[in-house]
């Protein structure tokens, strides 16, 4: 199996960045699997009671046989359990927390590993505590000194300076709220009363601006003083520079320097520049901090000497760690807004950074670099475009793909906003025309990898979606190129990769895999190309409509089935335009009735669906009749298309049409009995179509309940849950639905990773709570059975049943369920508290049962066992 995995990795097909990262991820996962196995072995030797259970795993674990996946680790004597894919992270922590003083510890082999872990932890804990103690002592001493000096200063200072000193005292008190409050007040004071800061106050603020503890409070105050106290200029420069040098709140220190305006000399020293770049963090999916002060200083340095800023950024762009590159790109992006030239200066470096590895997790370094290149494109499109094109031949396909992706980024709204250009006026003039032309070339360039061409097609799709005018001139060319591709019986050949000396090229499985992938990519590419044309047709029906209709009418089904089908899809897009519907319907009807090709019929059904997706009116009755007719088409592609088209368009159907449609759909239930996932779609369609006529609701519900269970958990749960939405608990078919719910709950396990209140199961319980008493009485035996079934395996969920019984006054059944649930938890220390709670609940249920029988004294005796919960 591992061999197969590596076959995939060693395929000669070109790889994208995602695949490259997947390969590295696999390598890391296998390494982690080996470490996991080692840790499990050691932990099991350490103690007999240690348990590790793999709770989820994937293909890699199956193929390699290694413990790669999520593991739950526990012990019957431990108070908690942990779960993670990374056992080297959680096992030592688990052992330290639970085994250090465990009286139940039973060695099961070599215990030196566990002893080392505990010893190491104790040592680290001690060191940490000592360091913290020393830090606290130091702080305390400092506070005392400041307090003492402040008291003296208050006695010798002017009366109007004293309040500032009181704030200063508060700033260094140990009370965080007070510190924050005083800091804010001191900032305001510095703005409106810089002259009221006595020499003592200044000394303290300046000295503590360099300390890690207080700099965050003192530097903003210094920033305000910098603008207003010219006598402090040299001291403030020194303080701020020192803070930046030692990376103590560089952004705040940068603010101080900025306030000093022309008293600073630029460019800043290299060390300061590097630190001002380094401290900026842009690895945030949304939002994140801004660094206006640092970047303003960098801009001033850049203005004085461009290389002083560009050189450190160049170095960072070539860093192997993608996080570093993301941060560097974040800085470049920010600087580009004010000085576009920096993007052009760094263009070669940005493109070169795309050669490095990236992965899809968290922020993507390639995406950020691409954004910087896109920004540069806006400032000088011709130069950047030419440079990018010149780089394409030298790069591997994965990098080519990233370069082409830059053109797609140009279309993003935020880019337009950032450059303050209106979407249609100026932007369509030059930049987008260059981008569109280039992407068209990429799409048609058969020397490029298919994935690269698909990326270019995606860029074109974005352009045709937002700025169709830009490529409207190329519509005929695109349509022609698509027609040409439709005539190809085989996908284009692969680009030959570099064959390594010992690499086998004749492995038939490898060839087969490559072939599958090639056809898949070709299909993706063609579909994307058609999407581009469809977008143009949708956005510019007036310009392209007649061309498409003429094209459709001139095509022969037998010889041009693929292309004709594509033109039918385009008719659907053109028909979205209200004015064009009369022109489009006749050819569409022709396509619906084209019995020479099931592909064209199916496409025509989808085109009708598309055409009326957002329309207020319904199609003509005869067209709907055709759709209903196609429900009975023997070709899968056709009747599935018809079912899908009618699923959400039940309102088009009259009552007789609905009955006809339901008959057709229900007829397929048996045929698809062994395809549960399609059965789900079909049932949803039946329910939706019937929803418009209340008297047909029960027919639909009965039909759906007949297919249950499919024995596929996801499908069964989804179907039952949709029935709970469709049928009210007091409707005639409610009992059948209730039985299915109970069966479903008993049969399948809860997904413990999903919050109970949002799950389908919670909704099922909610529905059951509302059934009338008569139904409750009739289904009570199955309820009891399911409750016991669940209580054995899931004590928490059994409480839903206990609550149900309590509501109906069935306290004896409530007691039984709780008893089984409590028993299922015995022997595990981590469940002690939960078990005690369940036993107390059981006692109340038993007492209530006794009260129902009039045995008050027995009830009181039972209730006397209940105790207050432990805190």
């Amino acid at each position: 199996m591992i061999y197969t995995l590596f076959l995939v990795c060693e395929s000669t097909m070109a790889k994208g960045k995602l695949e490259e990262s997947f390969e590295r991820e696999n390598e890391r996962a296998i390494k982690l699997g080996i470490e996991n196995a080692e840790h499990i072995k050691n932990a099991k030797s350490w103690c007999k009671h240690f348990r590790a259970e793999m709770v989820s795993a994937g293909l890699l674990a199956q193929m390699s046989g290694l413990p790669i996946g999520s593991h739950a680790i526990s012990c019957q004597h431990a108070e908690g359990s942990s779960e993670s894919m990374n056992l080297p992270w959680i096992i030592p922590e688990f052992i330290v927390s639970n085994c250090a003083k465990c009286p139940h510890h039973v060695p099961n082999g070599d215990i030196s590993w566990g002893e080392r872990i505990i010893e190491k932890h104790n040592r680290q804990l001690q060191e940490r505590e000592e360091a913290e103690r020393a830090r606290q002592n130091q702080l305390e001493k400092l506070r005392d000194q400041i307090l003492e000096l402040s008291v003296q200063a208050k006695q010798s200072s002017e009366i109007d300076e004293r309040q500032i000193l009181i704030f200063i005292e508060g700033l260094f008190s140990g009370d965080e709220t007070k510190q924050k409050e005083c800091s804010e007040w001191l900032v305001q004071s510095a703005r409106i009363g810089a002259d009221l800061f006595s020499p003592f106050a200044i000394d303290i603020l300046l000295s503590q601006s360099r300390s890690q503890e207080f700099a965050s409070f003192c530097l903003p105050i210094c920033g305000e003083l910098a603008e207003r106290r010219t006598d402090l200029t040299s001291r403030l420069i020194e303080v701020a520079c020192t803070a930046i040098e030692h990376r103590i709140y560089p952004e705040l220190a940068a603010y101080v320097l900025l306030q000093l305006a022309d008293k600073m000399y630029y460019p800043l020293p290299d060390k300061l520049t590097v630190n001002l770049i380094d401290h900026q963090e842009y690895n945030w999916p949304i939002g994140g901090p801004k660094y206006p002060n640092s970047n303003e200083l960098l801009l001033r340095s850049f203005d004085a000497e461009p290389r002083s800023v560009a050189n450190p950024l160049r170095t960072l762009l070539q860093h192997d760690d993608k996080r570093v590159r993301v941060n560097a790109c974040g800085v470049i992006e920010t600087l580009q807004h004010a000085r576009p030239q920096i993007g052009l200066d760094l263009l070669p470096d940005l493109v070169a950074s795309l050669d490095l590895h990236d992965d899809p997790y968290e922020e993507s370094a390639d995406a950020r670099a691409g954004q910087c290149i896109a920004n540069a494109f806006w400032s000088n499109p011709t130069q950047v475009d030419e440079f990018l094109v010149s780089q394409i031949p030298n790069k591997r396909p994965a990098v080519q793909q990233e370069i082409v992706a830059v053109y797609r980024k140009l279309i993003r709204d935020d880019v337009e906003h950032q450059h303050g250009k209106s979407p249609l006026a100026e932007t369509t003039s030059l930049e987008l025309r260059i981008a569109a032309k280039r992407c068209l070339e990429f799409v048609k360039d058969d020397k490029l990898d298919l994935e690269v061409r698909r990326e270019a097609a995606e860029a074109l799709e974005a352009i045709s979606s937002k700025h169709p005018q830009t490529i409207l001139l190329h519509f005929d060319s695109l349509l022609g190129y698509y027609a040409l591709n439709c005539t190809l019986s085989e996908p284009p050949d692969l680009r030959l990769g570099i064959i390594l000396p010992n690499q086998s090229t004749s492995d038939p499985r490898l060839k087969q895999l490559d072939e599958i992938k090639r056809r898949q990519h070709w299909g993706f590419f063609k579909r994307k190309l058609l999407d581009v044309i469809k977008k143009l047709a949708e956005n510019e029906p007036a310009t392209v409509g007649e061309t498409v209709i003429r094209c459709f009418e001139g095509l022969d089904t037998k010889t041009n089935e693929d292309f004709k089908s594509a033109t039918v899809a385009l008719l659907g897009e053109i028909g979205k335009g209200y004015a064009f519907q009369p022109r489009v319907l006749p050819p569409l009807m022709k396509a619906l009735m084209d019995y020479e090709s099931q592909v064209i019929r199916a496409t025509a059904i989808r085109a009708v669906e598309e055409m009326y997706r957002h329309a207020q009116s319904a199609p003509p009755k005869n067209l709907v009749d055709i759709l209903i007719l196609h429900l009975n088409d023997r070709y899968v592609i056709v009747h599935k298309a018809a079912i899908r088209a009618l699923e959400w368009k039940g309102r088009w159907l009259s009552r007789s049409q609905t009955i006809e449609a339901l008959t057709g759909m229900i007829g397929w239930l048996n045929a698809y009995r062994n395809d549960p996932y399609y059965l789900d779609d079909l049932c949803q369609a039946i329910v939706q179509v019937a929803a418009h006529y209340p008297d047909l609701k029960n027919l639909a519900a009965k039909s759906v309940t007949r297919v249950l269970p499919t024995n596929e958990q996801l499908v069964d749960e989804k179907l039952v849950e949709s029935l709970t939405r469709y049928i009210q608990p007091d409707e005639p078919t409610a009992e059948a639905v209730a039985r299915h719910i109970v069966w479903c709950l008993g049969q399948y396990h809860r997904d413990r990773y999903q919050g109970s209140q949002f799950s389908e199961r919670a909704r099922m319980f909610e529905w059951l709570y509302q059934i009338p008493q008569a139904i409750y009485v009739r289904i009570k035996p199955v309820l009891i059975e399911a409750a016991k079934q669940i209580a054995v395996r899931d004590a928490f969920e059994s409480c839903f049943f206990a609550g149900l019984f309590a509501r109906r006054g069935d306290y004896a059944e409530e007691e039984n369920v709780l008893a089984v649930a409590a028993d299922s938890l015995s022997g595990e220390k981590r469940y002690h508290r939960f078990r005690k709670e369940l036993l107390d609940l059981r006692a109340v249920a038993a007492a209530n049962a006794q009260l129902n029988n009039g045995n008050i004294s027995t009830a009181q005796q039972l209730l006397s066992q209940i105790t207050e919960p432990e805190q």
Partner: protein, 512 residues
Amino acid sequence: VKDGELDITHAHNSAVIVAGLHKTLGEINLRERGQAHQLTTLIEQIDKHLGETAESEESRTWQIVSIGLRTLQSQLRCREIAMGGNGEILGERERLSVLCSELRMQLSSFYAYSDSSTTLVEEVIEHNNRSVNSDRLLAFLRSVPMPITYWRRKNTNYPFRRHSSESEDIDASITPLVRVIAFIDGSPLVSPQLLQPQLSYSLKFVVRGIIWPNESDKLKLDLLTTLPASDYSVSDFMLQKPLKIEDNQYEGELAGQIRFGTAQTLLSENISFVVRCAFQLPSGSHYEVPVIGHNQLEFRIVDPERQSFMSGHRRLDQHVAGLLEKLRGENPAIVDEMPDLIPVLEALTNLHGTYAQGAVLKDATKIRERDFHPLVLRDLRFMLGKEVQEHPSQAGGYTDIRYRGVVIELKVEGKNGDRTHICQKYSKQATQYEGVEARQVSVVLVLDLTPKDEPLGDIRNDILLYDVPTHGGKDNQKQYPSKAFVFVVNGNIQDPSAYSKKRSYRRRMSSK
């Protein structure tokens, strides 16, 4: 279950309450007094739990039990009051009546489909809804099964949003702060500011700030003091919100007047005012903000015409009182020494004036310190009594005269009559004596026997306050600098006419 989620801890809490309820109801004795109190905690627990429970059938049973307990409690209270306990019987009976009606309604509704519902209600509640059968109600409460409430009320307040009030809105933002600089009669205020009684002074505050809360349109400035309101009057100061706050900063001037009724004695403390600022909110409440700058004002009210320093020589008294005010202004800690110092200064001022006016030492050309000493000692004892001591041992030497810790050093100067010289020369010894007793002020009385070639001037020049340099660094950096009052008494004085003669002689000589 409306807006509920299954919660085991919540369910367990209900179990604990049920157990507690049955325990209490099992132990309660309706015939004893003080039983009503036992139900209070139980009712509170049930109410709190119901507040956290999702609305459901189970919670209805709990509500009935809650009302039943309240009714029983009210019935027991009525009985206790009737039997002589504390409380107001009419009020409690009305409460019981309301509870009875409520219980009747709840029971009838909950047991609507039960055959025994009417019997139960009739047995428990009297027909007139004025009282209950306590025994039957207790039996009912003991027998009713209370289902576990598995469903806790879900927090639907998502995303979590606080119900903010006017003041909370302000709290959420940064607390504003204002800078206040005070001017009196157009000059920046000093501390303490010397003012005269019965005069109105213009008082102006220049206020500056950054944040002005949206809710407020007025900033009120007022002065807070412990001085009785009858002793002073001050204007109201109110700043209207500026129409436009530019550059995120506002500034305004508040002008008014201040007036004090009476002067202070030398021994009284400065009058202190705290300057407070608060934004007025539409509700009429105030939002106080910190003040920087002149957040405290200190005044000293002095009447130059009517000094509290009284030696009997009015102009000298004014002079010495001025010196004392200056001393006190510069060194607030000196106020502790004043009670002993002032009598000494009054006595010496008196002596000084008397000796000058009476020309007591006019003919003394060669008088020794030991001869001068008994004269001064005798005169001081006339005025200050027996506490005036001579030659007590102090700081390794012997002081000349001491009165309640205030050392008066006596000296005779026969060579250099320059006052600065005299101060420099003779204040050091007295300072060392006083220093060891943690006092800052010493007193020196010097008899000047130098020839008086020029006529004597204003004798106020002969009473001086001198800063005495001391060991251990710069004196302006010391917390307790030393001072000396130097009194110079003139001896060896010529007749006033002698100066006229001299002048005639000089004129004659010059005309030659």
